[in-house]
Assembly symmetry: C2
Amino acid sequence: MAPTAETLTAERILEATEEVLRRHGPAKATVVDVARALGVSHGTVYRHFRTKAALREAVTKRWLDRTSEALAGIAAGDRAPEERLRAWFTGLFEAKRRKAGGDPELFATYSVLTGENGAAVGEHIDDLTAQLTRIVRAGTDSGAFTAADPAATARALFHATGRFHDPCYAGEWQQPGIEDEFTAVLDLLLRGLRA
Amino acid sequence: MAPTAETLTAERILEATEEVLRRHGPAKATVVDVARALGVSHGTVYRHFRTKAALREAVTKRWLDRTSEALAGIAAGDRAPEERLRAWFTGLFEAKRRKAGGDPELFATYSVLTGENGAAVGEHIDDLTAQLTRIVRAGTDSGAFTAADPAATARALFHATGRFHDPCYAGEWQQPGIEDEFTAVLDLLLRGLRA
């Protein structure tokens, strides 16, 4: 049943937007397509998102948030800091690979959208490095890690592992040997962190 | 004075090819353009490079080799391994930044060419990681570093520093703070290497 202007939620619009982007591609998808998919007028969509740019930014943020939310639970967990850090990076790499390999067209679509929405990407990276900082700080508190500035160390860890989460490397993620490369980098970084 | 078929060297052709690529861009540059720039027939160019693809591959290799040759001296030096590793990565980052920032059009041209010539890029990365392996091995020999498999550790170091040499990050290399990010990553990796 088509939603009415009263029952239509922002989340429902974002779901439909993702579907429209998947079908038409980021260059051609319009707000009218989204409204048509929902069976409402485009004015109703604009009541939730004031501009096409705002709608695209919100759908990009939703896509990025899916990854951060999945990792927040690991960061907040009570496993030993080293084990937690390993689980967190493994989770990040797996989530990115799944997104890139499981639905390459949608991944390519979001690569265009993240290119347009630098602020949303910046916030996403801030979210992720804040989670990492929490783990590094747990390690310095327990005496397992040495890090004079946990936030700076968290950023260094994030930068040093770019090969395993930055979309510019998506083409490498299905290559043989990538798992060993991931483990070698993580082992070296963890050795560097240990007190 | 225009070279004759007898005095024309491969190096002279590659110089002219780079100039033609810079002027016409990688999509439009032809072997005829190169021959015209040299004042010879295109047959004379083909005597040195049998196909347009071979010429493009050779000019790509020459561009990549300029970086590896500049670093080879550092790798083969006799400074302490840790200092040598730091100088090597600093040299690599500086060379890449200079290439990207000093002549952005030529850098963009070579980004297209490296995309076409995966084998030349693979050899270049093998060259660089062989240099790194030499430094890591000097460190394990002297007892300064711990690394069970110096070649694997060299690859891990190369992968962990991609943000500071991989062309996909060229847009970040002039950002404020990038020097501190570089130092933070390198410090962490060196801590991980120390015996």
